[in-house]
């Protein structure tokens, strides 16, 4: 059986490519960042290991045009195609599925992704897709589903595997119920780097200070906190599960020694904390991987890492710490269920930077309740952190309610949404009612990204040089030039609505 893990190149009217971005939602970029889809990579590896003929078909990272990608796929004529999609590209996927089913009627199309998993019937009604996964544990479900399809001609009617909605005919679907991750995460294999052509993702990523960089097989699936209202790792159908430290260390060793990775990032919603974080850092040191010219990075939450752990991480050559500063005012943090207060962020950032880590702030603006005062508090706080050297890089996004998260549901319930057109959910514009004009949030974005060009910020980076650490010099002279290009692009993407129409 031939199986394709496919990502079509999707290009908007501005000539920008759809890329998976913050919170695994899709944003459009002229110069994209190619992120390796880890769970799909694990699924592909697992199926390949089971003897299936798997091919990795990422038209974006393979720099194909849409036509080239499509012709190649049709020529390959897979028995199964697996897609991942989110809200802003659902309509595109429904169309492409129908086109594929017309050209390859024998092919089974399986839809994955956070939108269709929450609304499986919609995708089956709006397209000829055969199966929708109701789980984000794609690897665990597919390694059961594919052999079942392979071995049972009546699989549509009889499939007992949980977490699926299967098309029986045009109007009848077989729902196999909720999926719960009940097996240990260690059963899913490390991503096979050759299978996914890892070097296609190793250079065009704004978070890498050194290249080639790569994403590790995530140590945590879903989120151990899992309560933030805007985040997709939230809901009773999601479970938290964690890989063993030693298995992950083995992968890091392989990535450094066999593949020559010089920066490894773990994109788990939240990485290890406490004892596991310390065991991992100590493992890196014990294996001598901290002396192989490779930086390490991860996502975390304010409040999760204490000083002893941070010191050990720094000793192990960790550098990049991506942390959400969704807002700096108490009301917004409470409404988002962040689980900490405004003061906690500064205390945590002071500790990260005390030991030479590079915090990267992910900021959001445009919550439906966000007042001018709240917005200004966030801007002022971010500026202060950047000028004082408490954070090194940042990204700002428009808070877009996505894929039926609690925040999305709240927007629906309170009639705050300005559009129901899924195309509008691409994070390029505000799509909720707000207490102040939308342009003020776009100005805030411009203002925050403008920090990168502010003399105070640049002076601080020059000051860092006198610590005579390689990473500080790389930051200013290598990363800095790349970053300016990306900052301009982000400002264009997120404020173009000021020039074009604004949804009213």
């Amino acid at each position: 059986m031939k199986i394709a893990f496919s990502y079509p190149p999707i290009i908007n009217s501005d000539g920008q490519k759809a890329m998976v971005s913050q919170n695994r939602n899709v944003q459009f970029f002229m110069k994209p960042t190619y992120l390796l889809p880890i769970i799909q990579g694990q699924a592909a590896t697992w199926l390949r290991d089971m003897g299936y003929n798997v091919f990795w078909d990422d038209g974006n990272s393979q720099l194909k045009t849409f036509d080239c990608w499509y012709l190649d796929l049709i020529e390959a004529s897979p028995d199964v195609i697996i897609f991942e999609s989110t809200t802003p590209v659902m309509k595109f996927y429904w169309n492409i599925v129908n086109k594929i089913k017309s050209d390859l009627p024998h092919c089974t199309v399986i839809m994955t992704g956070y939108h269709s998993m929450r609304k499986p019937q919609e995708t089956l009604r709006r397209s000829y897709a055969d199966v929708v996964l109701r789980s984000n544990h794609i690897d665990f479900v597919l390694q059961k589903l594919i052999p079942y399809i392979d071995e049972n001609s009546q699989w549509r009617e009889n499939c007992p595997i949980e977490g699926l909605v299967i098309r029986i005919d045009e109007n009848n679907f077989h729902d196999t119920g909720n999926f719960k991750q009940i097996e240990t995460l260690d059963l899913s294999p490390d991503v096979d780097r050759d299978l996914v052509q890892w070097k296609n993702y190793a250079y065009e990523n704004g978070n890498f200070l050194q290249t080639p960089g790569t994403y590790a097989t995530s140590v945590v699936r879903d989120c151990m906190f899992g309560k933030c209202s805007f985040c997709r790792y939230n809901g009773p159908d999601l479970t938290f599960s964690m890989r063993s430290v030693q298995k992950s260390l083995d992968e890091y060793q392989k990535l450094i020694e066999d593949y020559g990775a010089r920066e490894i990032f773990d994109d788990s919603g939240v990485w290890y904390r406490g004892a596991e974080a310390r065991e991992f850092a100590q493992g890196i040191i014990d294996r001598g991987l901290n002396k192989k010219d490779c930086y390490f990075g991860f996502n975390t939450r304010f409040g999760y890492l204490e000083e002893d752990t941070i010191a050990l991480l720094a000793k192990a050559n960790f550098r990049f710490v991506l942390v959400g500063l969704e807002a700096a005012d108490e009301e917004t943090l409470n409404r988002l269920n962040k689980g900490y207060g405004p003061k906690d962020s500064e205390q945590n950032l002071k500790l990260y930077t005390k030991y030479g880590l590079f915090p990267h702030l992910t900021i959001m603006v445009g919550y439906f309740w966000q007042t001018r005062e709240q917005l200004n508090t966030t801007i002022d706080t971010v500026k202060r952190f950047m000028f004082e050297g408490l954070a090194r890089t940042l990204q700002v996004t428009i808070c877009t309610p996505i894929d039926f998260t609690p925040y999305h549901q709240e927007c629906i319930d309170q009639k705050m949404l300005l559009t129901n057109d899924y195309d509008d959910f691409d994070m390029s514009k505000l799509i909720v009612k707000t207490p102040i004009p939308h342009n003020d949030y776009y100005d805030a974005i411009r203002n925050i990204y403008g920090i990168a060009f502010h003399p105070k910020f640049i002076f601080k980076q020059i000051q860092f040089l006198f610590k005579f650490k390689k990473r500080d010099w790389q930051f200013l002279f290598t990363y800095g030039i790349r970053a300016i290009r990306r900052v301009r692009q982000h400002i264009f993407n997120l404020t173009k609505q000021q020039k074009n129409k604004v949804i009213k």
Partner: protein, 213 residues
Amino acid sequence: MLHKVLEIRNLTATAYVLRIERKKVSFKAGQCFNLGLKNSGVNREYSIYSGENDSCLEFLVKEIKEGIVSPSLRQVTLGEEINLHGPYGSFVIDPIKIKQVKFYFICTGTGIAPFHSFIRSHPNLDYQIINGIRSLNERYDYDEYHPLKITTCISREKWAGFHGRLTAYLPEIPIDTKSIFYICGNQKMIQEAYVILRKKKVSGNHIFTEAFF
């Protein structure tokens, strides 16, 4: 938000109940809160132990030797303020189901906390607790449960009751598949208990889990 510590009730060498002032906090039984020392910048999640109508907030805390938050909370002097954020989470009971079905609460160690909160909040709940612990002294506030409605499985001490893990006990008992099952505790136990229930033909839609880590 800052809340004064009213009492620290030691249960064992590694477990205690932290009681703090409630102020105007409202919550649903089973939800969790983040607790941390004032100005420390570090916090951890704890399930609520007290009931929805109790005058104070209580948390059943297992002290982690190598931990940061749980040992320091135990050292707080009475009257001192600690940080509290929340409540969060959807590990709660559907009020419509309370009078309709029986609830099984399956837990290990301090994973009994949200179930204590359920029972205090809903006195007429039809429930059965299956509690897995290592030794007899881990039967926290045992007297507060109806003796026929709690089964204890003790793994490291022989006693008059079931000796072994709850995952050895669970396959042996008859289960009404129409019941609703809540599982709370360490992840390995949750995984094993889930498989056992599914083998007993319990629908995945009737099983709710909350992992302690």
